[in-house]
């Protein structure tokens, strides 16, 4: 069967459109279907990670001081480029400049503003730090007019106070 639109190529896609009078069927070739904006399949992106990590190529070239190995786990930026995974937490210090740049490209930002972590050793000061953190988040919630969130944060602050 030929494509209803170009009448040249084989029709491979059947499109059912709902118009006022009811359903109308079109037989289209792949190119005409694409031109008319019909998606033939819906599938999950194959590997968003690869796209995400593309900027690494550039980042690698800019930091000669970081060519070498992580002093803690021994992995290199090249290992990261190959696997998409860092070797250990210390890699973030070993390759700080490159990673800051990468984080900025990937997330649009390199500064963490979420939950602040206090290690078990620092725990006694935990409540105080938690309170400062919550007040900070409350202020932002109010600024952004997220009132439900603000109410929830205010309740949590009251409990700590």
């Amino acid at each position: 069967m030929l494509c209803d639109h170009c009448k040249e190529r084989d029709a491979v896609i059947q499109v059912m459109q709902i118009v006022d009078k009811g359903p109308v069927k079109h037989n289209l070739c792949e190119r005409c279907a694409a031109e008319k904006g019909f998606e033939t399949t819906v599938s999950a992106p194959k590997s968003s990670l690869v796209e995400f990590l593309m900027p690494m190529q550039k980042a690698l070239a800019t930091s000669p001081s970081e060519i070498g190995r992580c002093s803690s786990c021994g992995s290199t930026l090249r290992d990261f480029q190959r696997t998409g995974r860092l070797g250990c937490a210390h890699c973030y210090a070993s390759f700080e400049t490159s990673l800051r740049d990468l984080l900025r490209r990937v997330h649009g930002n390199h500064r963490h503003v979420g939950k602040r972590y206090v290690t078990p050793e620092e725990a006694p000061e935990h409540a105080a730090v938690g309170l400062i953190d919550l007040r900070d988040r409350l202020r932002r919630a109010v600024e952004n007019e997220q009132f439900e969130l603000a109410a929830e944060l205010r309740d949590r602050i009251r409990v700590l106070e």
């Binding site: 819906v42 999950a44 696997t83 990468l102 929830e152």
Partner: protein, 361 residues
């Protein structure tokens, strides 16, 4: 070691029970936090002994935290392949932890602690993946649960954290909050009205992404989409959740509109199509998984449109999980070939629908 899922609270599937908000459109909400234990290489680079020491310290922390003490430990590394597949199909462990990719077999020390709507995977890509699952659209409840578990663990085990970058993770796409919040949503109306591509393309512009039923890399089947935050750094957990929440609410609204349009403009076509889907599920003798998913999608839509009465969303949700291959093998008590699976699946679906057929139709 063979696994007995009946020991888990509600078999680990309380999130399927359709009790949450907008349960006819949103199947479930899941939030996970990626954490690493300070002082050890990440799981992919750690030695066997290091991973076992990590597991031991997490185990101690879980036993020490009153709210987590009842969680059940499953040593994934001691399970046969079929049992690992079962845990993955039930969304209790990731594909990576289950070691289902032939190139990345299961790691020693791979384990999961399971509680009601809560799970802690150990030695996944990150040492810890703390996750909470809830029925329907329930971001606040899921976040409260995962946040509590994170605090319980983080006060007992030192996490890798950086003042500027936040929680440090094996892959920089998770750095910062380490949080991925996802909502599993059924959008047949938007697919049928061909609006879905536009909608999905728009997600990227607001820092969100979509995947199939099984997360990263999985195909979309049965019009089920997992919508989640793409970025994890530079915004607080609450802000990320608010962004996701806003878009999901909009998606629900658009889906409801699409369904109204379909009923108005093509009522009899839709009704015929959906009843045919029901007929196939009710009487077919062999069903592949994708086929079953697509017909279930139709029946689910019919229930949402109130074209079919007497079928519960819970039953349809359970069919999504329990008609998968490893679950069928588990129920039959033996390994099944693909063609045997298709026969058993058809029988299982027939029986489940027949049990509720009294009022349908």
């Amino acid at each position: 070691m063979t696994i007995d899922l009946s020991l888990l609270p509600d078999g680990g599937v309380s999130w399927l029970d359709a009790s949450g908000e907008n349960a006819d459109i949103v199947i479930s909400t899941r939030i996970r936090l990626a954490r690493n234990v300070a002082g050890y290489p990440f799981a992919g680079r750690a030695r066997d002994g290091e991973r076992l020491r990590i597991l031991a310290s997490v185990r101690e922390a879980v036993h020490d935290a009153p709210a987590m003490r009842e969680m059940q430990l499953v040593r994934v590394d001691e399970l046969e392949g079929e049992d690992r597949r079962l845990l993955h199909e039930r969304h209790l462990v990731s594909k990576e932890l289950a070691g289902l990719d032939p190139q990345h077999p299961v790691r020693s020390g791979a384990a999961v602690f399971l509680g009601d709507g809560l799970g802690v995977m150990v030695n996944e890509e990150d040492h810890l993946r703390v996750q909470a699952m809830r029925s329907g659209f329930s971001l606040a409840a899921a976040f409260a649960a995962v946040e509590q578990a994170d605090s319980d663990l983080g006060t007992r085990v030192p996490f890798a954290y950086h003042d500027e970058f936040g929680f440090l993770t094996s892959c920089p796409t998770n750095t910062g909050t380490g949080m991925r919040a996802s909502v599993l949503i059924h959008l047949p109306g938007l697919v049928l009205t061909k609006e879905i591509s536009k909608v999905l393309a728009g997600l990227q512009h607001v820092g969100l992404t979509y995947r199939g039923l099984y997360g990263e890399g999985s195909e979309v089947v049965g019009n089920f989409f997992q919508i989640s935050n793409q970025t994890t750094l530079g915004r607080s957990e609450e802000e990320l959740l608010e962004d996701l929440s806003r878009v999901v609410r909009l998606l629900i609204q658009r889906e409801e509109e699409a369904r109204r349009v379909l009923l108005r403009d093509a009522g009899y076509i839709i009704e015929d199509k959906l009843w045919r889907a029901y007929g196939t599920l009710r009487y077919a003798r062999s069903l592949s998984f994708d086929e079953a998913m697509n017909f279930l999608s139709g029946v689910r839509l019919a229930v949402g449109l109130k074209l079919m009465a007497g079928l519960s969303v819970y039953t349809l949700n359970k069919l999504l999980i329990f008609s998968q291959s490893a679950h069928l093998s588990y129920a039959e008590g033996r390994a099944l070939s693909e063609s045997e699976s298709n026969l058993v699946r058809a029988r299982f679906v027939r029986e489940a629908l027949a049990a509720e057929a009294g009022t349908a139709g």
